[in-house]
């Protein structure tokens, strides 16, 4: 096959393998999953009996739960806060107002996750 035909084939290949837009609900589902990791980690801690904690072999699991919950929660706050950035930009009068709104939004998200 000649170079020109090869280039033409690559162009067809590019058209055939066009990027696929993810469904809109995927982002929401991903956030939900992060939230559930956060909540599951909190629930696991709550249900952990104090007596079990006397045995040092059991310490690793709740520690991991705290880490997973906190990490996923912080990511969620950042993602949600970022997703509303256009809305805030439209509503803001100036840069200071935008910064205040962003901070306010992030604090609200954090309160929703860690009341």
């Amino acid at each position: 096959m000649s170079d020109a035909a090869s280039t033409e084939f690559e162009a067809l290949l590019r058209r055939a393998l066009t990027p696929v837009e993810p469904p809109a609900e995927l982002g929401a589902r991903l956030e939900e999953t992060l939230t559930s990791i956060s909540l599951a980690a909190a629930e696991e801690l709550e249900s952990w009996e104090l007596s079990a904690m006397r045995d040092p072999r059991n310490w690793a699991r709740p520690a991991a739960a705290v880490l997973a919950g906190t990490a996923a929660g912080v990511a969620l706050v950042v993602l949600r806060t970022k997703q509303r950035s256009k809305q805030r930009r439209r509503a803001s009068k100036n840069v200071v107002d935008l910064a205040e709104r962003t901070l306010h939004d992030a604090l609200n998200e954090a309160r929703r996750l860690w009341p």
Binding site: F9, L13, L17, V20, L26
Partner: protein, 183 residues
């Protein structure tokens, strides 16, 4: 006063959010062409970002400022490989044309063109895993040789050869299908 650990965590999380925003479509496209159906592609995308989040601070440290897209795609690649190993199945071949092939024209030429694109897509699914993946990364995600090499854990030279062979093999498959009337 803000605790330095908290500030660092917030900085890392902001970077992760940016990575997610920039590459959600890449990961989803890769997953879709890899597994061949939207439902599994969504699951794979979700798992990829969750796993990426877990290892993100270390990846940031080790990346030395290089782009993290290859790392992200490598996670998706490993998860997809496990998916097939666990369920003992191969990618589906019924990739939905309506998602992938634009249907905005009605001339005979374009109908013929669409048939050719369909043949190409079907041919991609017949390639060995590594060749198929290299083509997805190059043509669906627009990754260059170096990025593909990092995602696949190969050298730049080996990746170049892999891509060349993948294209040649695909051309052969598509030609054979065209001559055989899609039998």
């Amino acid at each position: 006063m803000v605790d330095p650990d908290t500030a660092e965590k917030a900085r890392v999380d902001a970077q992760f959010a940016e990575l997610y925003r920039q590459h959600l479509r890449d990961v989803y496209s890769y997953a879709y062409y890899r597994v061949g159906d939207h439902h599994d592609a969504e699951d794979l995308t979700e798992q990829t970002f969750l796993q990426a989040y877990r290892h993100f601070p270390r990846a940031l440290e080790e990346s030395g400022g290089r782009p993290l897209r290859p790392w992200l795609i490598r996670i998706a690649h490993n998860l997809a490989a496990n998916h097939y190993r666990d369920r003992s199945r191969r990618p589906q071949t019924h990739i939905d044309d309506s998602t992938v092939l634009p249907a905005t024209h009605t001339t005979e030429d374009l109908v013929e063109g669409r048939d050719e694109l369909k043949r190409i897509l079907a041919g991609v699914q017949q390639l060995p895993d590594d060749r198929r993946e290299a083509l997805i990364m190059r043509f669906a995600l627009g990754m260059d040789n170096r990025e593909i090499a990092r995602a696949m854990g190969r050298t730049d030279g080996a990746t170049k050869v892999l891509l060349h062979r993948a294209i040649k093999q695909l051309e052969g498959i598509v030609d054979a299908k065209a001559k055989g009337g899609d039998r």
